[in-house]
Amino acid sequence: MLGVLGGRVYDPQNGIAGEVRDIWVKDGRVVSPEEVDQEQAEIIDASGLVVMPGGVDIHSHIVGAKVNAGRKFRPEDHRGNERERTETLRSGVGGTVPTTHLTGYLYAEMGYTTVMEAATAPLVARHTHEELADVPILDSGAFITLGNNHFLMKCIRDGRQETARDYVAWLLGATKGYAIKIVNPGGVENWKWHSNVSELDDEVIGFGVTPRQILEMLAWINEELGLPHVPHIHGINLGRSSSARTTIEAMATLDGRRAHFCHLQFLSYGEGKGSLQASEAAAVAEAVNSHPSMTVDVGQLVFGSATTMTSDGPLQHNMHQMTRNKWLNDDVESETGGGVVPALYKRTNPINSVMWLTGMELFLLIDDPWRVFLTTDHPNAGCFTYYPQVIRLLMDRGYRRQVFESIHARARKGALLPELDREYSLHEIAIISRAGPARALGLKNKGHLGIGADADITVYEDVGNKEQMFAKPRYVIKAGVLVARDGTVVEERPGRTLYVAPPYDDESEKNIREYFNQAYTISFDNYSIGADSLRHAERIGCG
């Protein structure tokens, strides 16, 4: 039992904006004061402090095949970023892709308690879950890549919608995934033919379907299955100067349906002068504003070292050719692919500067904070440990101006950013970093502090420099237990794995089994992951 008393509470989901409240906790949940023996409860005096729900990250790459490959091939990223073991906590190395235990500690120390793993190939989902078992404190779920799936594309080609729906239901349950992820629909399959897609109506080689059809089908399936989250989309043309146009087109295609467009910064460019691409944040933000069923996260670029890793195979090869940095690629049979390339983002680089300001503009031009979320697409545009810096940029236009003045002159020229005076309030920060993502994920017990919510609570000291404020919360409580104090983990707790298992027609499993034996090199019966082999698992309902 625990009481967090007298703090200024920001709980946007429940309409509480900085009012002084007491929060009572019992058995890992927020409860009414009557349910607690207040004499016996541990009391945290939060008077003068800011209280928010634990942070919720809707899009981050923290575990799994690609992430671990990124760790393995970057020893240079680890050196100098070590953390020593303590009596009770494990050692680890950081840099842009921290080891599993350190990932849990660093997120918790920043006040985050729920983090979604943004891309897992179904065939190696077991790996994702095995790594998650070594990520302490955080609750997490895995998004399953489906945008280049052979079975699905065949169903689209043959007009078998119901079969496709049942297949996705089966697959999410089999892989213990949380949501449908779409990465460069069709483009990753074409990369296996040394090609890509560049328009929504381009053909996927060997299947005769288009990226547009894949998006439409998966959006329909998502609604049919009543999944808690929406289709989580990394569109076509990421990083290219045609990306803003095709992003807007994709939103129009899905008009009326719900969808989430991730790391939008990477997909909001147009043609600029010379070879330089330009920010089209204004046009993309307008599209977001006019499609109320869409949510986005920004994937804000942070200057410094990063490791790009996506399921977008052709994109990663382009990155390799452009930067000449070392390159990993992994084509996954019948399903997807992916790659990893280290990156260094510099203010002195005009392209990187445009990327930085595109992200800033998106944050400031999208009107509704409930539909735009804080991410750096960790570790693609920067490590998640830079979230406090991004928050300061959003809350402090003087600081933003100062950074803007330091970026490359070619990027500054004609930029919209200096005209944008908007500053986020603490209430809005609470929305974009916890309440909004939790709502978009369909996590009813996360992102708020109402009765029955998970007792994931972060208490900050309200100092002028918001980067300092958000970097080292005074207290972090996970499931009712104090896990970090003054920015240092004090107790390690296991996190939970959140997954969905939508119902499907048993007959269709027979079809899938038949297909599977042709399409895979592992046995059908060895593909599904039992809930009992996950760490503390929690099934989230559909419908």
């Binding site: 490959a69 599993t100 095995e130 050719q321 049979e333 592992i522």
Partner: protein, 422 residues
């Protein structure tokens, strides 16, 4: 009692074939259908008797053995944990944790096998794919310094030579197979084209091949005993393939040049992707050596040869690798999991291992176990206990516990040792 169990995985080699049907009688496997000869031997020949652990050759209770192991490790200034490639992910996770708490050095059989492959990957990256992509897409297969016909008996049939796949409906006829090695092997006999290179010249041959792929002028007529015009044909064939795959083995990692050889091949493969699609897959040996790399990396950031002596992970092949630590006598206790270094290490290293107190966790007898202070006869993963093994292409395969054996698992013993030393 007899029973038939399907889709059993064999953990002998990196193919981790998981389509095996076993017939059991009592606590024995009497038949293993679809398994290769080696796999059949592993599955049907296991020692199913529940044996007690020993301390100095004397049978003791489990608890006493755990106590003895913990006290050896606690008293050591520089303990080494080694092996891990033939145990399950769950045990590997505990082994790294134990190393962290002890401030030990931990190393896997990778360091005497594909360690150089890991170093090459860190230097230049790796363009790879799963084995299903090989079966379904590859029209050109190159085996360089490896001999799967002997080392991975079902590799040809399941993935690389004869199977029919989506884009290879005619099986063998739809594939061109090239072998590069220093001597003819059973693999080279199955190839369409065999390049016999002189011992120790792989690096030079690969360099020339890279130049030819890039269309550069090459001033020599032969390299490593191979004619450049024939290599030019190979370079052209590589660029013209639809999807090429190179498999590489210890012929590259353990010959002169080591990680440089591998780096040259990985660079060649990366560069071929400017013209077509090409992947490389290291031919990993032990059943879960890929998993050992994975677990060490996710917990420590590095794939092998990791020291926790300073309280945090440090990577040092040559410095913290088991052979080097032992040969320099920098280790004063060892815990060996599912491996037999006393039988396979160079003399100086094996000799030192015999001098220091050693703890062995292994389902099977071994030379190392025969001279160890403490021996835990543990369960066979995939037969007596469930678990996971990662195939050579890093696809995780679940292992079944077919029998409810009375033997404890490596994971359980390591858990108890952790409990005792913490």
């Amino acid at each position: 009692m007899s029973a038939v169990v399907e889709h059993v995985a064999c953990t002998f080699c990196g193919c981790v074939c998981d389509d095996i049907v076993v017939e059991c009688e009592g606590s024995e496997i009497i038949k293993a259908r679809r398994a290769c000869a080696v796999g059949r031997g592993v599955l049907t020949g296991r020692d199913s008797v529940v044996r007690r652990p020993t301390v100095r050759g004397r049978e003791v209770e489990w608890q006493e053995a755990v106590g003895e192991a913990a006290s050896i490790l606690e008293q050591a200034d520089s303990p080494l944990i080694y092996g891990l490639s033939s145990t399950s992910i769950e045990a590997q996770r505990r082994a790294v944790e134990l190393a962290d708490w002890l401030g030990a050095v931990i190393d896997t059989t990778s360091s005497v096998c594909h360690g150089p492959t890991g170093l090459a990957m860190q230097a230049v990256g790796e363009a790879t794919c799963t084995l299903g992509e090989v079966r379904d897409r590859a029209d050109l297969i190159v085996f360089w310094g490896c001999n799967p016909a002997d080392s991975h008996p079902r590799h040809f049939g399941r993935f690389s030579l004869s199977p029919k796949g989506a884009l290879t409906p005619n099986g063998r006829k739809d594939r061109t197979v090239v072998v590069v090695d220093v001597r003819p092997t059973r693999t080279s006999k199955a190839a369409d084209r065999f390049f016999q290179v002189n011992v120790g010249t792989d690096y030079e041959v690969l360099s020339v091949l890279r130049s030819l792929v890039k269309g550069r002028d090459v001033q020599v007529d032969t390299v490593g005993g191979v004619s450049v015009s024939e290599l030019r044909d190979l370079a052209d064939r590589m660029k013209e393939s639809r999807y090429g795959v190179a498999f590489m083995g210890m012929g590259l990692t353990m010959s002169r040049g080591r990680h440089l050889n591998v780096g040259e091949l990985f660079s060649l493969v990366a560069e071929l992707n400017e013209y077509t699609r090409f992947s490389v897959i290291p031919m990993r040996g032990h059943g879960n050596v890929a998993g050992a790399d994975q677990v060490l990396t996710w917990q420590s950031g590095y794939p092998f040869a990791v020291s926790f002596a300073r309280g945090y992970p440090q990577f040092g092949p040559g410095e913290f690798s088991a052979v080097d630590m032992l040969s320099r006598r920098e280790v004063d206790a060892a815990l060996v999991v599912a491996s037999d270094p006393a039988a396979h290490f160079p003399h100086a290293a094996a000799e030192h291992l015999g001098r220091i107190p050693t703890i062995v966790l292994d389902p099977a007898p071994s030379v190392t176990a025969s001279c160890a202070r403490v021996v835990f006869p543990t369960a066979y993963y995939g037969i007596d206990a469930p678990g996971t093994a990662y195939r050579m292409d890093n696809v995780p395969i679940p292992l079944q516990g077919i029998f409810a054996s009375g033997r404890p698992t490596d994971e359980q013993i390591l858990d108890q040792i952790i409990e005792a030393v913490k």
